[in-house]
Every structure is written in C-alpha cells, then in structure tokens.
Amino acid sequence: MRLVGLILGLVLVFPVFPLGRWQAFTLDTAQFAFIVTVLALSWDLLARTGQLSLAQGAFFGLGAYAAGLSAPALGTIGGLLLGAAVAALSSLLLGLATLRLQGIYFAIATLAFSEVMRTLVLKAEFTGGATGLPVAPAFGGSWVLGGYYLAAAVLVLGVLTSLWVGRSRLSYAQAAARQGEAVARVLGVAVVRVKLLSFLLSSALAGLAGGVYAMKTLFLSPYDAFGLGRAVEALVIPIFGGLYTTLGPLLGGLLLVALETWLRLEIKDGYLVVYGLILILAILFMPKGLVGLWRARGKTAKEDRNA
C-alpha cells in the first residue's frame, strides 16, 4: 500500500529528473508503460472473479479507435470518455451472452471477439482500414507534457479503481465467485451480476487506456491496436506481478515494459517469446507472482483474505 503511493509519487515528479538527452526517450517509454499498466490493472479486475478475458486487446483497440475518431469533435477528454463507453458497451453484449456459462466458454468467446473486431476494423471504410488512422495529439499538442500527464492521470485512476474495488464489498463477492460459484450462489451472491459489473469496469478502463495510447502514438493500425500482443501483455503482467492485487500489476507493468522496450531494440519480431515464457514459468513456479514472493516472508491477515 505504501509502495503503491511511493510509485505514484515518483510517476508524478518523474519529468523533473535531469536525464539530459535521454529525457525524451525515457518519458516516452514511461508513458507507454503507464498505458500498458492500466491495461494490466483492468485485466486483473475481471480475473478476480476467476474469468479469463482474452479480449482486453480488443477493448483497448475499440477505445483507441473511438477516441481517435471522435476527438476532433468532442475534444480530448470527450473522446477518451467515448472510447471507454464504446468498450464498456461491447463488453456488456459479450458478457450477457457468455458470463452465465463456464469460464471456458467465456475465454473462447473473448478470444474470438478480439479476432473478429480486428477483421471488422480492417474491412470498414471509416476506420481507414488497413491503411490506418492518423490521430491528433492530446490537447491539440499545445502542452509538451500533456501526453505524459494524461497517461499518468489514467494510471492514477486505474490504481485507485483497483484499490477501491479491492476494499469494497465487491471484492468479497468476486473472491466467492472465483473460489466456488455454487457456494457463492447459495450464500446469496448474484454471481452473474458481479462478473458483469467487473467486466464492465475492466473493459471501460481498457478502453480508456486505448484512447490515451491513440493520442500518444498519433497513428492507429488494426494490427497494432488490436494485436494479440496487447492481450498477452494485459494478462502476463498481473500474473508476473501478483494476481488479485494492485501492487502486482503496477510493479509488473513498469518492470516488464522496461524489459520489452529493451527487447524491441534488440530483436524486432518475436519479442513476445519472453512473455510466453514468463507466463508459463510464473504459472508453474510462482503462481502468486512477485508480490507473493515478497509476502511469503511475513504472512498477514489481509493476504489470507485475498488468497
């Protein structure tokens, strides 16, 4: 908890650090890291109910395209909100159809959903299709650090949402739905409603992150915005950092994106190999992630509740 505050404090004062000619690069990387971390936090929100979403990349892409297309008319903030709304609406449709069934069906449907969304964007006219879509920078580009602080603000929002959900009554319902759906139903937890609410929150946050991403890269293509890479990052980071926590995705996101940036400079395609490897190793040997290693030394009552 204190560590979360410390990291957020560092994020806010980071641009002041005198990094000389590295400053532009580090700020750009940090901005990307914040966006991906929000995506990871959003994935974890749903994972707390035991559901595996492979569509986080699709919500990210939907948010990015909706924000990019509407920002000229609605302004930066309006565009971002619309992006989040579009992502949330599509998750509602997907969730209504699939969240009543076993987790397997949901995972399959989300994977298929993300594939189809990419096909649709690729085929549609108004999205620019395969050519891509140019996007205006945040706040008309008039403020140099505008993009950075926009990403930082969304990161703070994501962290606060994750903390708030973790401390609310919803977290108990989520844990019950995850650990034993039948028991949770008997205890009077409206399991489907809990899952649906978590899915809505999760996808809205992912859509928001996508909008900020669009205004950072200034150019969207279906392969980039809807790529499977986003969905992979979104789930590997929380697992590596520590599932069902706020600190885990935050720490994991900043670490793994730094690693990813370095890898992308070394090898172009195929950097996702490392993500696949981390995912497998973490599931087999470190199912509680970095945070779990940390906490193994001093078990607290809170961890018992979250476990």
């Binding site: 994972a47 035991g50 559901q51 595996l52 492979l54 159809a97 699939t98 009543r100 069934l101 076993q102 987790g103 397997i104 069906y105 995972a107 399959i108 449907a109 994977l111 298929a112 959903f113 594939e115 189809v116 096909t119 649709l120 690729l122 085929k123 995850r178 499977l228 992979v232 789930l235 590997v236 697992i239 090898i267 395609d269 195929g270 950097y271 996702l272 190999v273 993500y275 696949g276 490897l277 995912l279 497998i280 599931i283 087999l284 199912p287």
Partner: protein, 285 residues
C-alpha cells in the same frame, strides 16, 4: 445451380480438415479436461515439418504425414508431461493461462526461427484438378478430405473397439473410478494429449500444401476448432463431424454469396460461437 453445387462441394471438402483439427481438440478437452489454446500451434509445427522436409530433401508431403504425426505426438507428449500434468488439479484459470502461454511461446519462437513469411509446399500434383459432371475440384483437397475421413474412422475404431480405447473413454467419463479399476490414468492422459496433438500435426501437413506454413497459420484454426467443439458440445467427438460440416458449409456459402466475402469468412466462426453460446446460456436459466 452449378455455382451452388460447386460451393457445397467446396464446403464438404474443407470440412474434412476442420473435423480432423477439431477432433484433436475435443480429445484434449473431453479426456484430459484441458482447454488447449496451443492446439493450433501443434498444427503449425506439423506444417513446418512438412515444409522443412520438402525444402531440404524434396520429401513428398504424403511421407511427411507420418513423420509429422510422430514428431507432433512427441511434442504433445512432452508438453503434457512438462506443462499440463503439474496444473491438472490447479484452478481452471491457471490451466487456460498455461496453454495460452504455450501458444504465445511456440508462435513467436517460430517467428524468430523462420520469420513471418508464408511458405508453400508445392509437389508436382499441387495444382491438378479433377472434373466431374461440370464440377471441378483440386486433387489435393480431395485427397486431404479422404485421408481425414480415413484417420477419423481409425480414431473411432480405436476408441470404440480396442481395450486402450475403452480406457481412454473410461477416463473421459470419470476421473477416479478408472484408476481404482487398474487403468493407468496418467498414461491415458499422455496418450490422449499426444494423439490430440498428432491429429493437429497431420492437418498441418495437409495445410502446408493447400494453404501455407507460417508462424501464425495455426491461430485461426485454434479458433475454428473451438467454434466446432463448442457447437458439438465440449468433448462430444461424434458431434464434431456435423459441426465441422456446418461451419465449413457456412464459410463456403459466405465466401461465394456475400459481396466482398473474402474477409467476412473470417467472422463466420465468431457468429457461430456467439450464437451457440447465447442459445446455451439462455436455455440454462
């Protein structure tokens, strides 16, 4: 009328390979109880085995079928032994994440080794066509269809007539009782998962001739196989045949009759999944 018949014929021919891939997935889901997101990557490995043998030695894909089946069976067995077995009793979320991780790993490993190019295996008979009463079809798709049917018949014979097949079905029905009756459950899992992978690998060899080999070729087949398995009901092996036929027909019809249908074909499997799941979820409540 001729166009319709031709379309239906294309659909039937495509259904063979679909049924082969989906039967493998149904085995993994039904017997081992693992939702294998890396199923398409086993197919991809089969396709690359065929390509490498053909490019290096000019070995005919028909021969590669056997080599790939054995090689991918081993890959599946090793994956089961090293990765799947440790998580058999873990939560479902962990199992799915693990196979998804394997999929990402294999796909990108292939990308690092071979690059993103598509490679086609082109034996001399690749472009040969047969015509029958005004309808024409390629020799290769026809042979692939026939081979798929033969292999599936073999699979049904194995499951329905041999002692080992009985053991596989027993384990699929109940996890505990077969062990008490003296069936080595672990070995049955190993066999079923290896077979599941081998079926995908064989399909991969066929696709290396009909389509191409590339690191991402398997991904679409994972999704299509899931669509078929979901339509048939998880683990229902006989339903897979009809479901594969339905999906292939739907795709053939869309590609012929929907204007600009080429890209929309890739959305058909999602509509199938979505419709089936919606139907299932409202029937249950």
């Amino acid at each position: 009328m001729e166009l319709l018949l031709q379309t239906l014929l294309n659909g039937v021919l495509a259904a063979g390979v679909y049924a082969l891939v989906a039967s493998g997935l149904a085995l993994a889901v039904g017997v081992v109880g693992i939702v294998n997101f890396a199923h398409g990557e086993f197919l991809m490995i089969g396709a690359f085995v065929s390509y490498l043998l053909f490019a290096a030695r000019g070995i005919d894909p028909l021969v590669s079928l056997g080599v790939a089946a054995v090689a991918v069976f081993l890959v599946g067995a090793i994956s089961y032994y090293g990765l799947i077995r440790p998580v058999l009793s873990a939560p479902e979320l962990n199992q799915m994440l693990l196979t998804f991780g394997l999929s990402v790993l294999l796909q990108n490993l292939a990308l690092l080794l071979f690059g993103a190019d598509t490679r086609v295996v082109s034996p001399p008979y690749q472009g040969a066509t047969l015509s029958l009463g005004g309808l024409s079809f390629g020799v290769v798709p026809f042979a692939a269809f026939g081979l798929s049917l033969l292999i599936l018949l073999g699979l049904y014979w194995f499951l329905g007539r041999t002692r080992l097949g009985f053991a596989v079905r027993a384990v699929a029905q109940n996890r505990l009782a077969p062990g008490l009756l003296g069936i080595e459950t672990q070995q049955v899992y190993l066999l079923a998962f290896g077979l599941s992978a081998a079926l995908a690998g064989i399909a991969g060899v066929m696709l290396s001739v009909m389509l191409y080999a590339s690191p991402t070729v398997g991904f679409a087949y994972t999704l299509k196989a899931f669509a078929i398995v979901v339509m048939a009901g998880l683990g229902n092996l006989r339903g897979v045949l009809w479901a594969a036929l339905a999906l292939a027909m739907a795709e053939a019809l869309v590609s012929t009759y929907v204007p600009g249908g080429g890209g929309w074909v890739e959305a058909v499997f999602f509509l199938v999944i979505f419709a089936v799941l919606t139907w299932r979820s409202w029937r249950r409540t």
